[in-house]
Symmetry: C2
Subunit: 342 residues, 2 copies
């Protein structure tokens, strides 16, 4: 039995308590300042309102002010924050942690570097740490509401220390939560971050069909499949460009497959495909913050910077540049079908 | 205006008449001996019963006995047969064709070679021709019923003669039918043949969920996404093993995406996932012949043969070997989740 502290009680962070509890561990779930109501509810009767699910008995919930209380004795800290909370996590949480406490992040995202490179969070944050510490991350297709229902889920843990990764796998892997370990941090993290961007492109096909044939039309798959294939092509190029191994395209593809089925990214892609401008679509979605939008913008900006110095050709990324044009330059949807496969 | 002769009036062969007609060509649609009723119907009022669709006015239909009548003047011959008809096409049709008539196949499949290699049909057949002739093929995600509805569709034409491929693209590409040309025959054809095998594995997830949660349960995506990712990984390995370029994984992924949504392969995968044996599932599907089953068997056999001589490791293909065990060795579904990513 180990003690696993999860900081961030959003859907994915909280869902990690299920495999952890199934393996007999104690879980200390600490909310961020944005999670007050969730934590209050879990403290009352273990009910998680956003997951609509009663968390395991092994879960104890704490408000953020109690973080320092719960750290002693913790064997592993899971960072359960989204990419929008990663700066807070780096500045407010990491400095409080005991030196040797390993950290495993569920956060997906790439940080733009001054030279036009993009670094996965564990590497970007790791490079700034005064005191080096193992920063690992989880990638792969996993929706929280299926994880809590113990559906078969295959993910990878990545980081520099393979032995430590394998120990973390031992803590968390179950008969339904399948974990691979890899030291290819760039490959895995680029793959799972980029799929959010490209899911926007694939789901546009749904909206385009609705625009053409009416909202109740049968779903067509040829256009989405064309966009899916081109997404895999561009993600493969980006993974190599950013220093990852080619095999990580399999994580990107599997993760893209699950992301296009639901959630806010699909809603946004569908609205854009119907012909709404990005501003109109954002209004319709009540201005929710979307990781897909952030990753499109940072990747496009990095590519432009690298293209300016002749290191990449923007023509190799027609879908990403289309997404950037829609999101950041008020462009209409204009799928560059005939440039696919170039 | 050119004259395009299509041999084989199944769904995909016949659907090719739509972009051809939209480009102003005359189409001579010749049925195989199995297509008599379809041809009779098209001759009567251009109605194609299996597509439930009235073919363009530019289509003239002919029974197989009229093949030699319609060949003179033809500029291009499209082979619209399935892999089960390819031997017939090679033996009965190819020898009748004028020497310089280019052939473009919609057929997907790999032919086992005595040395344990697998060759795409255009290369396997091409190597046996007494008189060399350009044999080209179409690959990529394209369902016939969406093509006839002019949905955006992105495919590739492959063959050895790039100039001839580009001329064929000019004949057939439209504002909705997008065509790339590639000389990577092995890569493209392996990709689009293999996706039929792996679609069986991905769709098993649907049946497994139904078995666990009942037939009316919501669909879960984590298991299918895990299978999808592993499929992409194994297809990538197979494409390289069989001599294709890595970029073709994007065709395999896009094509897998569309194939898991519907059709007979999904039906079979679902039944197997529910726990039916292959024999029981085949009976339920009224013994339809499935390209997915054929490609699983021939690929597994080739891998075993290559493994015996130390050229591959069967452990690198756990999903394919699972499919082979179910189809050819009466095994139950036992997904090797923990071997994914190895």
């Amino acid at each position: 039995m180990s003690i696993i502290t999860i900081v961030g009680s959003g859907m994915m962070g909280s869902a990690m308590s299920v495999p952890a509890a199934d393996n007999g561990h104690q879980i200390r779930l600490v909310g961020t300042p944005l999670d007050r109501e969730i934590i209050a509810s879990v403290q009352k009767n273990r009910y998680h309102p956003r997951l609509d699910f009663t968390l395991p008995e092994a879960v104890q919930a704490y408000q953020i002010e109690q973080l320092q209380e719960v750290l002693p004795g913790s064997d592993l800290l899971i960072g359960g924050i989204s990419s929008f909370g990663i700066k807070w996590f780096e500045e407010q949480v990491l400095p409080l942690l005991p030196d040797r406490l390993p950290v495993l992040l569920v956060t997906k995202g790439l940080e733009a570097q001054p030279d036009g490179n993009l670094l996965p969070f564990p590497l970007a944050i790791g490079s700034r740490l005064a005191q080096p510490r193992p920063l690992h991350a989880i990638g792969g297709p996993c929706t929280s509401y299926e994880l809590i229902r113990r559906q078969h889920t295959a993910v990878a843990f990545c980081g520099s220390d393979l032995e430590l990764l394998q120990w973390q796998r031992k803590l968390l892997a179950t008969e339904y939560y399948h974990v691979r370990c890899t030291t290819d941090v760039k490959g895995l993290e680029c793959a799972v971050a980029l799929k959010n961007a490209y899911a926007l492109a694939v789901t546009m096909a749904v909206g385009m069909t609705e625009r053409q044939h009416g909202i109740d039309c049968p779903e067509f798959y040829n256009p989405a499949a064309a966009l899916f294939g081109q997404s895999v092509r561009e993600m493969g190029r980006l993974i190599r460009l950013l220093g990852g191994q080619p095999d990580c395209i399999s994580y990107a593809a599997g993760d893209l497959y699950v992301t296009v089925y639901g959630g806010r990214t699909r809603k946004l892609g569908r609205l854009l495909g119907r012909g709404l401008s990005f501003q109109e679509a954002k209004k319709e979605l009540a201005d929710v913050t979307l990781e897909s939008v952030a990753i499109v913008s940072s990747t496009a900006q990095a590519l432009r910077q690298q293209a300016a110095s002749g290191r990449v050709r923007l023509e190799d990324y027609p879908l990403l540049m289309m997404l950037d044009a829609i999101i950041n330059h008020q462009a209409e949807v204009q799928v560059p079908w005939d440039r696919f496969g170039e």
